[in-house]
Amino acid sequence: VTLVLTLSATPTQRLDLSPLVPHLLKDKSEKDIAAIDLATTREKVSVGDLFKIRAGSPEEIRVEGGSERFDNVGAGLESGRIVVMGDTGTNVGRKMSGGELVISGNVGPYAGSCLAGGRLEIDGDAGDFLAAPREGEIHGMSGGLLVLRGTAGARAGDKLRRGTILIEGDAGDWLGSRVMAGTLIVLGLAGENPGYLMRRGTIALAHPPELAPTFVDCGAYSSAFAAVFGRFLRPQSRDAGRLFKAPLRRFAGDMAVLGKGEIFVPE
Protein backbone atom coordinates (compact mmCIF):
# COMPACT_ATOMS: atom_id res chain seq x y z
CA VAL A 1 0.00 0.00 0.00
CA THR A 2 0.97 3.60 -0.54
CA LEU A 3 2.69 5.57 2.16
CA VAL A 4 0.43 8.58 2.76
CA LEU A 5 1.49 11.80 4.45
CA THR A 6 -1.41 14.12 5.20
CA LEU A 7 -0.55 17.72 6.02
CA SER A 8 -1.96 18.59 9.44
CA ALA A 9 -0.25 21.89 10.30
CA THR A 10 0.80 25.00 8.39
CA PRO A 11 4.59 25.13 7.97
CA THR A 12 6.17 27.95 9.97
CA GLN A 13 9.37 28.03 7.91
CA ARG A 14 10.73 26.80 4.56
CA LEU A 15 11.13 23.04 4.66
CA ASP A 16 13.55 20.68 2.97
CA LEU A 17 11.57 17.63 1.86
CA SER A 18 14.45 15.90 0.09
CA PRO A 19 14.65 13.05 2.69
CA LEU A 20 11.18 11.89 1.66
CA VAL A 21 12.13 9.81 -1.37
CA PRO A 22 11.63 6.02 -1.65
CA HIS A 23 15.27 4.96 -1.59
CA LEU A 24 15.93 6.90 1.62
CA LEU A 25 12.81 5.59 3.38
CA LYS A 26 13.29 1.96 2.38
CA ASP A 27 14.05 0.37 5.76
CA LYS A 28 12.52 2.99 8.01
CA SER A 29 9.66 2.32 10.40
CA GLU A 30 6.76 4.73 10.83
CA LYS A 31 8.46 6.06 13.95
CA ASP A 32 11.74 6.64 12.10
CA ILE A 33 9.91 8.51 9.37
CA ALA A 34 8.07 10.69 11.90
CA ALA A 35 11.42 11.68 13.41
CA ILE A 36 13.00 12.89 10.15
CA ASP A 37 13.95 16.54 10.44
CA LEU A 38 12.77 18.81 7.63
CA ALA A 39 13.77 22.15 9.16
CA THR A 40 15.90 24.73 7.43
CA THR A 41 16.26 27.00 10.47
CA ARG A 42 17.36 26.35 14.04
CA GLU A 43 13.79 25.61 15.00
CA LYS A 44 13.25 21.85 14.58
CA VAL A 45 10.36 20.55 12.48
CA SER A 46 10.00 16.81 11.99
CA VAL A 47 7.76 14.88 9.63
CA GLY A 48 5.60 13.84 12.56
CA ASP A 49 5.00 17.48 13.56
CA LEU A 50 3.58 18.35 10.18
CA PHE A 51 2.04 15.23 8.75
CA LYS A 52 -0.30 12.50 9.77
CA ILE A 53 1.43 9.33 8.55
CA ARG A 54 -0.34 6.29 7.15
CA ALA A 55 2.31 3.58 6.93
CA GLY A 56 2.91 1.76 3.68
CA SER A 57 5.55 0.80 1.19
CA PRO A 58 7.68 3.86 0.42
CA GLU A 59 7.87 2.78 -3.24
CA GLU A 60 4.84 5.00 -3.67
CA ILE A 61 4.45 8.09 -1.52
CA ARG A 62 1.40 10.33 -1.55
CA VAL A 63 1.56 13.72 0.09
CA GLU A 64 -1.91 15.13 0.70
CA GLY A 65 -1.75 18.86 1.00
CA GLY A 66 1.01 21.14 -0.16
CA SER A 67 2.62 24.45 0.58
CA GLU A 68 4.64 26.98 -1.29
CA ARG A 69 7.21 26.39 1.50
CA PHE A 70 7.88 22.76 0.53
CA ASP A 71 11.32 22.83 -1.10
CA ASN A 72 13.27 19.96 -2.69
CA VAL A 73 10.24 17.70 -3.05
CA GLY A 74 11.35 14.49 -4.76
CA ALA A 75 14.89 15.81 -5.15
CA GLY A 76 17.26 13.00 -6.07
CA LEU A 77 14.40 10.58 -6.74
CA GLU A 78 15.84 7.35 -8.18
CA SER A 79 12.83 5.07 -8.46
CA GLY A 80 9.27 4.67 -7.31
CA ARG A 81 6.57 7.28 -7.41
CA ILE A 82 5.73 10.40 -5.44
CA VAL A 83 2.44 12.24 -5.81
CA VAL A 84 1.85 15.60 -4.14
CA MET A 85 -1.73 16.81 -3.94
CA GLY A 86 -0.97 20.50 -3.60
CA ASP A 87 1.61 23.21 -4.25
CA THR A 88 5.33 22.98 -3.67
CA GLY A 89 8.26 25.40 -3.51
CA THR A 90 11.62 25.48 -5.24
CA ASN A 91 13.77 22.66 -6.59
CA VAL A 92 10.97 20.17 -7.14
CA GLY A 93 12.46 16.95 -8.54
CA ARG A 94 15.90 18.49 -8.72
CA LYS A 95 18.50 16.01 -9.95
CA MET A 96 16.00 13.19 -10.02
CA SER A 97 17.29 10.28 -12.10
CA GLY A 98 14.37 7.88 -12.31
CA GLY A 99 10.88 7.10 -11.12
CA GLU A 100 7.92 9.40 -11.37
CA LEU A 101 7.00 12.60 -9.56
CA VAL A 102 3.59 14.18 -9.96
CA ILE A 103 2.65 17.57 -8.48
CA SER A 104 -1.00 18.47 -8.75
CA GLY A 105 -0.51 22.15 -7.83
CA ASN A 106 1.86 24.98 -8.65
CA VAL A 107 5.61 24.82 -8.14
CA GLY A 108 8.26 27.44 -7.48
CA PRO A 109 11.39 28.24 -9.44
CA TYR A 110 13.96 25.63 -10.50
CA ALA A 111 11.42 22.84 -10.82
CA GLY A 112 13.06 19.81 -12.43
CA SER A 113 16.42 21.50 -12.11
CA CYS A 114 19.11 19.26 -13.64
CA LEU A 115 16.59 16.50 -14.16
CA ALA A 116 18.54 13.45 -15.35
CA GLY A 117 15.91 10.76 -15.82
CA GLY A 118 12.41 9.63 -14.98
CA ARG A 119 9.24 11.60 -15.43
CA LEU A 120 8.16 14.80 -13.70
CA GLU A 121 4.64 16.03 -14.21
CA ILE A 122 3.37 19.34 -12.89
CA ASP A 123 -0.33 20.03 -13.28
CA GLY A 124 -0.17 23.67 -12.19
CA ASP A 125 2.16 26.53 -13.09
CA ALA A 126 5.93 26.69 -12.60
CA GLY A 127 8.20 29.54 -11.59
CA ASP A 128 11.27 30.76 -13.43
CA PHE A 129 14.19 28.54 -14.46
CA LEU A 130 12.23 25.38 -15.13
CA ALA A 131 14.71 22.47 -15.45
CA ALA A 132 17.62 24.91 -15.30
CA PRO A 133 20.94 24.39 -13.52
CA ARG A 134 21.58 26.08 -10.16
CA GLU A 135 24.25 28.74 -9.71
CA GLY A 136 27.64 27.62 -11.00
CA GLU A 137 26.41 24.40 -12.56
CA ILE A 138 27.41 23.86 -16.17
CA HIS A 139 24.59 21.68 -17.46
CA GLY A 140 20.85 21.86 -17.02
CA MET A 141 18.45 19.00 -17.53
CA SER A 142 20.25 15.96 -18.94
CA GLY A 143 17.52 13.39 -19.50
CA GLY A 144 14.03 12.26 -18.72
CA LEU A 145 10.68 13.83 -19.44
CA LEU A 146 9.20 16.94 -17.86
CA VAL A 147 5.53 17.67 -18.51
CA LEU A 148 4.17 21.02 -17.34
CA ARG A 149 0.42 21.45 -17.79
CA GLY A 150 0.36 25.10 -16.73
CA THR A 151 2.59 28.04 -17.57
CA ALA A 152 6.32 28.47 -17.05
CA GLY A 153 8.23 31.56 -15.94
CA ALA A 154 11.27 33.02 -17.64
CA ARG A 155 14.31 31.04 -18.77
CA ALA A 156 12.53 27.68 -18.93
CA GLY A 157 14.87 24.92 -20.14
CA ASP A 158 18.00 26.98 -19.56
CA LYS A 159 21.14 24.98 -20.51
CA LEU A 160 19.05 21.97 -21.48
CA ARG A 161 21.36 19.16 -22.59
CA ARG A 162 19.17 16.11 -23.16
CA GLY A 163 15.63 14.93 -22.50
CA THR A 164 12.27 16.40 -23.33
CA ILE A 165 10.37 19.31 -21.76
CA LEU A 166 6.75 19.72 -22.72
CA ILE A 167 4.97 22.90 -21.63
CA GLU A 168 1.25 22.86 -22.38
CA GLY A 169 0.64 26.41 -21.22
CA ASP A 170 2.52 29.64 -21.94
CA ALA A 171 6.23 30.19 -21.37
CA GLY A 172 8.02 33.36 -20.30
CA ASP A 173 10.84 35.25 -21.97
CA TRP A 174 14.21 33.69 -22.80
CA LEU A 175 12.65 30.29 -23.16
CA GLY A 176 15.34 27.69 -23.92
CA SER A 177 18.22 30.04 -23.31
CA ARG A 178 21.67 28.50 -23.84
CA VAL A 179 20.19 25.12 -24.83
CA MET A 180 22.91 22.63 -25.75
CA ALA A 181 20.72 19.75 -26.96
CA GLY A 182 17.44 18.10 -26.06
CA THR A 183 13.91 19.07 -26.93
CA LEU A 184 11.59 21.77 -25.60
CA ILE A 185 7.98 22.11 -26.70
CA VAL A 186 5.62 24.95 -25.85
CA LEU A 187 1.97 24.67 -26.85
CA GLY A 188 0.86 28.02 -25.45
CA LEU A 189 2.30 31.47 -26.12
CA ALA A 190 6.05 31.87 -25.88
CA GLY A 191 7.71 35.05 -24.59
CA GLU A 192 10.43 37.14 -26.17
CA ASN A 193 13.66 35.71 -27.55
CA PRO A 194 13.19 31.96 -27.46
CA GLY A 195 16.36 29.92 -27.97
CA TYR A 196 18.66 32.78 -27.03
CA LEU A 197 22.27 31.53 -27.48
CA MET A 198 21.18 27.97 -28.10
CA ARG A 199 23.95 25.83 -29.63
CA ARG A 200 22.11 22.66 -30.61
CA GLY A 201 18.80 21.15 -29.64
CA THR A 202 15.20 21.53 -30.70
CA ILE A 203 12.50 23.96 -29.65
CA ALA A 204 8.98 23.59 -31.01
CA LEU A 205 6.57 26.48 -30.57
CA ALA A 206 2.89 26.26 -31.38
CA HIS A 207 2.49 30.05 -31.05
CA PRO A 208 5.90 31.62 -31.66
CA PRO A 209 6.74 35.27 -31.11
CA GLU A 210 8.90 37.04 -33.67
CA LEU A 211 12.22 35.19 -33.63
CA ALA A 212 15.55 36.92 -33.14
CA PRO A 213 17.38 37.84 -36.37
CA THR A 214 20.06 35.31 -35.41
CA PHE A 215 17.64 32.53 -36.38
CA VAL A 216 17.70 31.73 -40.08
CA ASP A 217 14.82 30.33 -42.07
CA CYS A 218 15.43 26.76 -43.31
CA GLY A 219 12.08 26.40 -45.05
CA ALA A 220 9.40 23.79 -44.73
CA TYR A 221 10.29 20.71 -42.77
CA SER A 222 8.86 17.31 -43.39
CA SER A 223 10.49 14.21 -42.06
CA ALA A 224 9.84 10.88 -40.44
CA PHE A 225 11.26 12.35 -37.24
CA ALA A 226 8.29 14.64 -36.67
CA ALA A 227 5.92 11.71 -37.02
CA VAL A 228 7.89 9.40 -34.74
CA PHE A 229 8.36 12.10 -32.12
CA GLY A 230 4.71 13.10 -32.35
CA ARG A 231 3.70 9.53 -31.64
CA PHE A 232 5.92 9.53 -28.56
CA LEU A 233 4.31 12.77 -27.31
CA ARG A 234 0.70 11.87 -28.01
CA PRO A 235 0.12 9.81 -24.83
CA GLN A 236 1.50 12.75 -22.81
CA SER A 237 -0.44 15.45 -24.61
CA ARG A 238 -2.77 15.20 -27.57
CA ASP A 239 -2.05 18.77 -28.61
CA ALA A 240 1.69 18.10 -28.71
CA GLY A 241 1.06 15.12 -30.95
CA ARG A 242 -1.06 17.37 -33.16
CA LEU A 243 1.68 20.03 -33.38
CA PHE A 244 4.12 17.51 -34.84
CA LYS A 245 1.53 16.08 -37.18
CA ALA A 246 0.87 19.41 -38.90
CA PRO A 247 3.34 20.90 -41.41
CA LEU A 248 6.30 22.59 -39.74
CA ARG A 249 8.81 25.25 -40.66
CA ARG A 250 12.38 25.04 -39.44
CA PHE A 251 14.54 27.92 -38.24
CA ALA A 252 18.19 27.29 -37.34
CA GLY A 253 20.17 29.18 -34.75
CA ASP A 254 21.32 30.82 -32.62
CA MET A 255 23.82 32.04 -35.21
CA ALA A 256 25.41 34.21 -32.51
CA VAL A 257 26.89 30.96 -31.22
CA LEU A 258 27.21 27.53 -32.87
CA GLY A 259 23.93 27.79 -34.78
CA LYS A 260 23.07 24.11 -34.94
CA GLY A 261 19.91 24.41 -32.89
CA GLU A 262 16.47 24.55 -34.44
CA ILE A 263 13.10 26.09 -33.74
CA PHE A 264 10.06 24.44 -35.29
CA VAL A 265 6.96 26.53 -35.83
CA PRO A 266 3.72 25.65 -37.58
CA GLU A 267 3.95 26.30 -41.32
Binding site: G143, R162, T183, T202, F225, E262
Partner: protein, 186 residues
Protein backbone atom coordinates in the same frame (compact mmCIF):
# COMPACT_ATOMS: atom_id res chain seq x y z
CA UNK B 1 24.25 -3.89 -34.28
CA UNK B 2 25.42 -0.33 -34.79
CA UNK B 3 23.72 1.10 -37.83
CA UNK B 4 22.75 4.71 -37.12
CA UNK B 5 25.79 5.11 -34.89
CA UNK B 6 27.98 4.71 -37.98
CA UNK B 7 25.68 6.18 -40.61
CA UNK B 8 25.54 9.42 -38.66
CA UNK B 9 29.01 10.37 -39.88
CA UNK B 10 27.48 10.79 -43.32
CA UNK B 11 25.85 13.89 -41.83
CA UNK B 12 29.26 15.60 -41.78
CA UNK B 13 28.53 17.50 -38.60
CA UNK B 14 24.91 18.32 -39.44
CA UNK B 15 23.59 15.11 -37.89
CA UNK B 16 21.31 15.50 -34.88
CA UNK B 17 21.02 13.03 -32.02
CA UNK B 18 17.64 12.55 -30.36
CA UNK B 19 16.95 10.37 -27.35
CA UNK B 20 13.41 9.76 -26.13
CA UNK B 21 11.33 6.85 -24.92
CA UNK B 22 14.54 4.88 -24.17
CA UNK B 23 15.41 4.99 -27.81
CA UNK B 24 18.24 6.76 -29.55
CA UNK B 25 17.77 8.21 -33.01
CA UNK B 26 20.03 9.96 -35.47
CA UNK B 27 18.66 12.52 -37.88
CA UNK B 28 20.82 13.03 -40.94
CA UNK B 29 20.04 15.77 -43.46
CA UNK B 30 19.73 14.33 -46.95
CA UNK B 31 18.84 15.72 -50.36
CA UNK B 32 15.22 14.62 -50.02
CA UNK B 33 14.84 16.09 -46.54
CA UNK B 34 16.02 14.09 -43.61
CA UNK B 35 17.00 10.49 -42.94
CA UNK B 36 15.95 9.05 -39.59
CA UNK B 37 17.65 5.99 -38.17
CA UNK B 38 17.94 4.33 -34.78
CA UNK B 39 21.46 4.24 -33.38
CA UNK B 40 21.43 0.50 -32.91
CA UNK B 41 19.44 -2.22 -34.58
CA UNK B 42 18.49 -5.57 -33.12
CA UNK B 43 20.31 -8.63 -34.36
CA UNK B 44 19.09 -12.21 -34.34
CA UNK B 45 20.96 -15.25 -35.52
CA UNK B 46 17.96 -17.54 -35.31
CA UNK B 47 16.17 -15.94 -38.26
CA UNK B 48 15.79 -17.56 -41.67
CA UNK B 49 17.24 -15.80 -44.69
CA UNK B 50 17.36 -16.37 -48.40
CA UNK B 51 14.02 -17.99 -49.10
CA UNK B 52 13.19 -17.25 -52.71
CA UNK B 53 10.79 -17.43 -55.58
CA UNK B 54 11.84 -17.38 -59.22
CA UNK B 55 9.04 -16.01 -61.33
CA UNK B 56 9.24 -16.93 -64.99
CA UNK B 57 7.12 -15.11 -67.54
CA UNK B 58 6.83 -14.52 -71.24
CA UNK B 59 8.22 -10.99 -71.19
CA UNK B 60 9.40 -8.31 -68.79
CA UNK B 61 6.09 -6.52 -68.31
CA UNK B 62 4.13 -9.67 -67.51
CA UNK B 63 6.76 -11.06 -65.18
CA UNK B 64 7.02 -7.78 -63.33
CA UNK B 65 3.24 -7.66 -62.98
CA UNK B 66 3.29 -11.10 -61.35
CA UNK B 67 6.22 -10.18 -59.11
CA UNK B 68 4.54 -6.98 -57.96
CA UNK B 69 1.30 -8.79 -57.22
CA UNK B 70 3.24 -11.32 -55.18
CA UNK B 71 5.08 -8.62 -53.23
CA UNK B 72 1.88 -6.82 -52.40
CA UNK B 73 0.47 -9.99 -50.88
CA UNK B 74 3.70 -10.96 -49.15
CA UNK B 75 4.12 -7.57 -47.49
CA UNK B 76 1.06 -8.36 -45.41
CA UNK B 77 2.77 -11.32 -43.75
CA UNK B 78 4.20 -10.45 -40.35
CA UNK B 79 7.73 -11.50 -39.49
CA UNK B 80 8.97 -11.69 -43.07
CA UNK B 81 10.62 -9.09 -45.28
CA UNK B 82 11.59 -8.97 -48.90
CA UNK B 83 14.91 -7.17 -48.41
CA UNK B 84 15.57 -5.91 -51.93
CA UNK B 85 14.33 -2.52 -53.16
CA UNK B 86 10.68 -2.99 -54.05
CA UNK B 87 11.21 -6.62 -53.05
CA UNK B 88 12.14 -7.64 -56.56
CA UNK B 89 15.52 -8.86 -57.79
CA UNK B 90 16.52 -8.79 -61.44
CA UNK B 91 20.09 -9.95 -60.92
CA UNK B 92 19.43 -13.30 -59.30
CA UNK B 93 22.57 -15.21 -58.49
CA UNK B 94 23.97 -18.69 -58.16
CA UNK B 95 26.46 -19.77 -55.52
CA UNK B 96 30.07 -19.57 -56.68
CA UNK B 97 31.82 -18.01 -59.63
CA UNK B 98 34.63 -18.72 -62.00
CA UNK B 99 36.49 -15.82 -60.42
CA UNK B 100 38.15 -16.45 -57.07
CA UNK B 101 37.15 -13.14 -55.49
CA UNK B 102 33.41 -13.66 -56.03
CA UNK B 103 31.19 -15.90 -53.93
CA UNK B 104 28.17 -15.46 -56.12
CA UNK B 105 27.59 -14.70 -59.75
CA UNK B 106 24.81 -14.39 -62.29
CA UNK B 107 22.37 -17.28 -62.33
CA UNK B 108 23.21 -18.39 -65.91
CA UNK B 109 20.76 -21.27 -65.92
CA UNK B 110 17.94 -18.71 -65.60
CA UNK B 111 19.32 -16.11 -68.02
CA UNK B 112 17.07 -16.11 -71.08
CA UNK B 113 19.79 -14.78 -73.36
CA UNK B 114 22.14 -17.66 -72.51
CA UNK B 115 19.74 -20.48 -73.09
CA UNK B 116 21.72 -21.81 -76.05
CA UNK B 117 25.07 -21.58 -74.37
CA UNK B 118 24.52 -23.14 -70.94
CA UNK B 119 22.48 -25.95 -69.42
CA UNK B 120 19.42 -23.76 -69.20
CA UNK B 121 16.56 -24.22 -66.76
CA UNK B 122 14.17 -22.25 -68.95
CA UNK B 123 11.54 -23.51 -71.31
CA UNK B 124 11.18 -21.96 -74.74
CA UNK B 125 8.19 -19.80 -73.76
CA UNK B 126 10.04 -17.99 -70.96
CA UNK B 127 11.53 -14.62 -71.80
CA UNK B 128 12.18 -13.11 -68.39
CA UNK B 129 12.83 -14.24 -64.81
CA UNK B 130 12.50 -12.10 -61.69
CA UNK B 131 13.32 -13.25 -58.20
CA UNK B 132 11.84 -12.42 -54.82
CA UNK B 133 14.08 -13.01 -51.82
CA UNK B 134 12.43 -13.58 -48.45
CA UNK B 135 14.00 -13.20 -45.01
CA UNK B 136 11.94 -14.10 -41.98
CA UNK B 137 12.16 -14.28 -38.22
CA UNK B 138 10.99 -17.89 -38.30
CA UNK B 139 10.76 -20.71 -40.79
CA UNK B 140 6.97 -20.44 -40.60
CA UNK B 141 7.04 -16.74 -41.51
CA UNK B 142 9.09 -17.42 -44.63
CA UNK B 143 6.74 -20.27 -45.54
CA UNK B 144 3.68 -18.05 -45.03
CA UNK B 145 5.15 -15.29 -47.18
CA UNK B 146 6.02 -17.77 -49.90
CA UNK B 147 2.52 -19.20 -49.78
CA UNK B 148 0.98 -15.73 -50.02
CA UNK B 149 3.21 -14.87 -52.98
CA UNK B 150 2.39 -18.05 -54.80
CA UNK B 151 -1.32 -17.49 -54.28
CA UNK B 152 -1.11 -13.97 -55.75
CA UNK B 153 0.86 -15.16 -58.77
CA UNK B 154 -1.54 -18.00 -59.44
CA UNK B 155 -4.51 -15.69 -59.13
CA UNK B 156 -3.06 -13.46 -61.83
CA UNK B 157 -2.81 -16.43 -64.17
CA UNK B 158 -0.37 -17.30 -66.97
CA UNK B 159 -1.83 -15.04 -69.67
CA UNK B 160 -1.09 -11.75 -67.88
CA UNK B 161 1.51 -12.89 -65.39
CA UNK B 162 3.92 -15.71 -64.76
CA UNK B 163 4.01 -18.96 -66.69
CA UNK B 164 6.16 -20.86 -64.19
CA UNK B 165 7.28 -20.34 -60.63
CA UNK B 166 10.24 -22.13 -59.19
CA UNK B 167 12.78 -21.55 -56.48
CA UNK B 168 16.52 -21.88 -56.20
CA UNK B 169 17.81 -24.34 -53.70
CA UNK B 170 21.37 -24.00 -54.91
CA UNK B 171 22.07 -27.67 -54.46
CA UNK B 172 21.26 -27.22 -50.79
CA UNK B 173 24.40 -25.10 -50.42
CA UNK B 174 22.70 -21.97 -49.07
CA UNK B 175 21.64 -23.25 -45.65
CA UNK B 176 19.69 -25.75 -43.60
CA UNK B 177 16.18 -24.55 -44.46
CA UNK B 178 14.34 -25.85 -47.50
CA UNK B 179 10.97 -24.65 -48.69
CA UNK B 180 9.28 -26.91 -51.20
CA UNK B 181 6.89 -24.93 -53.33
CA UNK B 182 4.65 -27.92 -53.97
CA UNK B 183 3.95 -28.05 -50.21
CA UNK B 184 3.14 -24.36 -50.14
CA UNK B 185 0.55 -24.31 -52.91
CA UNK B 186 -2.58 -22.47 -51.85
Amino acid sequence: LKVGDLLRYFGDGWQISKRFDDRHFWRIPTMDGEFLCEATTGLTKSAVGGGNLLICGADYAKTLRAAEAAIEAMNKVRGAIMPFPGGIVRSGSKVGSRYKALHASTNDAFCPTLRGQVATALDDDIGCVLEIVIDGLTEAAVADATRAGLAAIIKLGPRNGARRVTAGNYGGKLGPFHFHLKDLLP
